[in-house]
Every structure is written in C-alpha cells, then in structure tokens.
Subunit: 332 residues, 2 copies
C-alpha cells in the first residue's frame, strides 16, 4: 500500500511540474495589470493540480499523447481556480496557498472579474485546441455541464450552511461541488486521447466515484485526523456545523439522549471547548459514525477502481489506481 | 429618418418577442431553486435584447436561416446578463429592469453564482448547437475573446473611477466594455449563417463601430439629453465624475480658467447643485464639447454602415442600417 501511495504523490508531482510551464503560458501581459496579476495568482501558485493531472492521465491511459491534452489540462485548472477565487470571496476566506485571497488583496470587484476572466480564458484555450470540431463539442458538453453543476453545488452549500440535511442531500452536494469537474476533466482527457464512448463513460464514472471518496475521506480526516498533520484544528468541522456523512450517520443512528445532546451541543457552536469537541468525537467513534464515513469512502474508491477494467495496462492506468488508493490513505 | 427609427425599434421589438420563448427554454427546473430563479431573473425580464437581435440579423443578412442562430442568440443574451449581474454587484446597484438586483434580492454569494451559472449555461448551449465543429470553433473564438476583453474593460472602469483619463483610454474602455460582445454577437451570427471570412470580419467591424457610436451617444445624452426622457437626473454623469468623450474633449480644449473651474467644481462632486451642473453643462456646450461627442458618435455610425457594402439587400441588412441610425437618433 505504501509503495502505491508514494507513487501517486510522486507521479502527481511529476505531472504538476510538467504542467507548470503551460499553466504560465496562456495569460499574456495585457492591461489592466491588476486583472492580469490577480487572475494569474492562484494557478501560478500551484496547489495539488489533481484535475489537470487527471486530464493528462486519462488521455495517456486510453493511448493518446499527453501533449495533446495539455491545453485542456490548463483550461480545467483555470476553471478550478476561477471557482476558488469566487468561493473564497463568498466564504470570506483570507488566505489560500500561503497568500492573501484575491478579494482581500485586490478588492471584491477584481475578485469577481478575475474569476470571470479565468473562466473565459479556459474556454478560449479549449476553442483553440488542435482537435477536431466533433471532439471539441464532446469535451465542451462535459465541461460546461460540470461548471453549471458546480454552481448548483456551491449554492446548495450556501443554502445548507449550519443545517442538518439528509445523507442524500449531502452526497448530492459533494458530488456537484467536487466530483463533477473531476469527472469532466477525466472524460475530457479521454476524449482528446481518442477513447470510444464506452471508455469515456467508464473513466467519467471512475473520477466521479473518486471525487466522492476523496471528499468523504476529507470529512473523516476532519474529525478523526491528526490536527498536527491535517493543519486543521481538532473539532473545527464540528464547530462549523459541517453536515458531513459522519453527522448524517450519527443523526439517524444515535439513540442515547445524552450522546445526542453531547453531539448537538458542539455542532455549529463556535464557542465549544476542545473538551466538548473531544467528547462529541468520542460519541461519534463509539456510535460507529467515524468507521461509517471510512467505509463509505472505501466503497467509493473500490467502485472507482472497478471502472478501470476497460483500460489496457499503462503507467497512466497505474497512476489512476494509485490516486484512488491515495484518496483514502493519506494524513492530510 | 423618422421612418428608419420607427423601423429599428419596431423590428427590434419583433425580434425580441421571437427571442422570448427560446430565452425561457434553456434553464430547467432544478435544485437549488434560488439559483435557478436568480439566474432566470434578468434574461426573462426583457431589456432591449439588442445583442441577440444582432445575432439573428447578422445570420439572416448573410443568407442564413435565423432559426439556426437562435441558440447562439440566447447564449449571447445569457452572457450579457451574466455580466450585468456581476456588474450590479460590483457597482452596488439596487434596481434593474424594475426589480431588485440579484445581490440585493438573494445575497452576494448567489449573485456571484447566478452569474457563473449563466456563463456556463451559455457555453453549454453553444456546445449543443446543431452546427459543424469547425463553425463552433470559430464562434467560440470570437465569443471567448469578447468575454475576456469584457472583463478587462470592466476592470479598467473600476480602476479609472473618478479619474480623468486620456481619450484613447476612454475609447479603449468603452470598446472593451460594450462593443466587443456586440461585435462577437454579430460575427457569431454571420458564421452560423455561413458567411465567408471577409464578410464575417466586415460584420464584426460594423458592430464594433456601432457599439462605440451607441456608447458615445449615451454619453452625449447623459449631459445634453432631456432628463424627463432619459430617466437620468440632469448632471448625474457630471456628479459621478464619469470621464466621457465630452470631458476628455473639454479637458484638452478649455483655455478659460473660470470655465475650467466651473466644470471641475462639479466633476465627481455628488453635492453639486443643479445650478452648478447647468453652468458646467453650459461651459461644455459653449466649448463645443457636446457637439464633439455627437460628431464622434456620428462618425462611428457612418463608419459602421460603410462596412455593410459586402451584404446583399435584405430586411436584415435594412435593420442593421436602421439600428445604426437609431443609435444616434434617440431620446433615451
């Protein structure tokens, strides 16, 4: 297992470094400077670059040349970054990737415009790709639907803030917020690589499940992870009242009134003490809610990997499998 | 002249009513409801719909079937409306088309997301168009560049607020903010209609000039128009310190110190009295700055019309000419 984990992280790093030049090549020096600078900030700063790596891997895994998928990889990363700029503005977050967020550094109007500009640039890059018009149409259909869905997911997140929602609403929200762009990236890479419809759909399904598993494991880490490693203070997800799959499980299975009271006293309570959070976490553990989240994440990752039977062996397929394993075997 | 004006307005109304059904057909009832409602609000409420009308007219004028251009017309209108939602948020405007703006009615996050969602939907509609992949690429290249440029223009507007800028900066800003999407709409319609490259470029140049003329005449109306008809209170543009072509002209031509003082005392001064504004307007009139704006607008409209020599006679060509005349012969 450990070998695979190393592999996924290292291979991701390798792909990320190949992406670095292209990501810096599409936004020319133009006026006005503050718009150009602010739209460059997030994509240039790095991040995990999992989505563009997925574009390249999917293209390679179906026998395509990864260079051909490079523009799409950049476009997908720009789209991801445009959503981050707007997300940070909406959430009022002040720091990302070690720098002040765009709305803090440049003001709200520039954050709105830098996001819009990156979005436009992403589609401009796609329109200029050296692929057939028919392939472009197919890629566009996946990508545009994913951005529409992403906005729906973010809106659901805004609407559900501080609410306890049913598990199907939770899953729908993380699917729309996280998985759909991931899946569009993978499908797009496969289309550019020349995959047939069945293979494109299998790879799309793989990435959709992988995204879900990744997010569920994030939720698990948020409560059960080591704060020193995750960088998130213990109990943070509880205090914020994040309605994750741990909480949806707890809400429908805890029968003991005292246990339920302990949990509810910290959920969405920013003033909850570390001791109260630890007690609530213990309730979740005893109730099996933490194991439940882990098992959900594992199921999704197994489901994701099972989709890859359509692919011939290759380093790219190995990476896609390793990335799935990595999704649920990490400390941060 | 009057006949033409009536014609342009009536024909625009006719095209707008043909657009109404299609504009209402692409945003399905989905969750979450507040995102769907808010993204529908501006496009459903109407407006002049000049951009989508331009798509249809350009398609018809090159011999295409206007039905074929209907999806692109809707997409262009969605893009225009996405920029309005974000613009209203950035400017803090509270009313549009007789309703509260999105950020006022639904909050800032929903305004950001409704704009993003409309933008995504616009490209989704384009990707689904029943045209060849090659045509799609061409259309996309015009449209994506125009949205990128639009963001640049809006940023310039933000940056230049309250500043006196040189005339070339003023013209570049209104070109990017207003004309480029207009021009992309016209070029896109012509491409869908099957025009050759030369014709597409001529129609693009026509709409670019028309957009400039339209905006320059708006600036003229803002100072010289009848407040009862424009709906804008007299002196508003002066009090806001809008750096229009009237002002750039005045700044480089007024030699009398008292006149200059009268003008500068109201520019960007929200407390300026109606009398002070009237005196400044009189300075502009006496100095020829009002006539100058009118002559600039007229030149642009003449230039726009001169591009249409490539087109055979048709009702659509007539409309495009009438629309150009209407741009500088209106009271509102």
């Amino acid at each position: 297992m450990d070998g695979f984990v190393m592999n996924a992280k290292e291979y991701l790093k390798k792909l990320s470094s190949e992406l670095d030049g292209p990501i810096r090549s599409y936004i020319a020096d133009e006026e006005p400077k503050n718009l150009i600078e602010s739209s460059r900030q997030y994509p240039y700063a790095g991040g995990k670059r999992m989505r563009p790596a997925m574009v390249l891997a999917a293209c390679g895994a179906v026998g395509g040349r990864t260079e051909d998928a490079m523009p799409l990889a950049v476009a997908i990363e720009y789209i991801h970054n445009f959503t981050l700029i707007h997300d940070d503005l909406m959430d009022g977050d002040e720091v990302r990737r070690g720098m002040t967020t765009i709305h803090v550094g440049y003001g709200m109007p520039t954050a709105v415009l830098a996001g819009d500009a990156l979005f436009a640039k992403a589609f401009q890059i796609m329109a200029d790709m050296d692929i057939s018009g028919e392939k472009l149409k197919e890629v566009m259909q996946y990508v545009t639907l994913s951005v529409w869905d992403l906005a729906r997911g973010q809106q659901m997140d805004v609407n559900n803030e501080g609410k306890l929602v049913p598990e199907e609403v939770y899953i729908e929200t993380i699917k729309l917020k996280t998985s759909v762009l991931f899946a569009a990236a993978a499908a797009g890479g496969a289309i550019v690589g020349g995959a047939d419809k069945k293979t494109v759909e299998a790879i799309h399904a793989y990435a959709l499940d992988l995204g879900l598993g990744f997010q569920m494991f994030d939720d698990y880490l948020g409560v059960a992870g080591d704060p020193k490693k995750t960088g998130k203070s213990a109990g943070n997800d509880l205090r914020k009242g994040k309605c994750t799959c741990l909480i949806t499980h707890a809400m429908r299975t805890i029968t003991d009134e005292k246990d339920m009271a302990k949990l509810k006293s910290v959920l969405g309570n920013l003033d909850a003490t570390d001791e109260e959070c630890a007690a609530a976490t213990e309730v979740l553990r005893r109730n099996g809610s933490i194991d439940y989240a882990l098992s959900l994440a594992r199921d999704k990752v197994e489901s994701a990997k099972s989709r890859l039977g359509v692919l011939a062996d290759s380093e790219y397929k190995d990476f896609m499998i390793a990335l799935a394993d990595f999704a649920i075997d990490r400390e941060v």
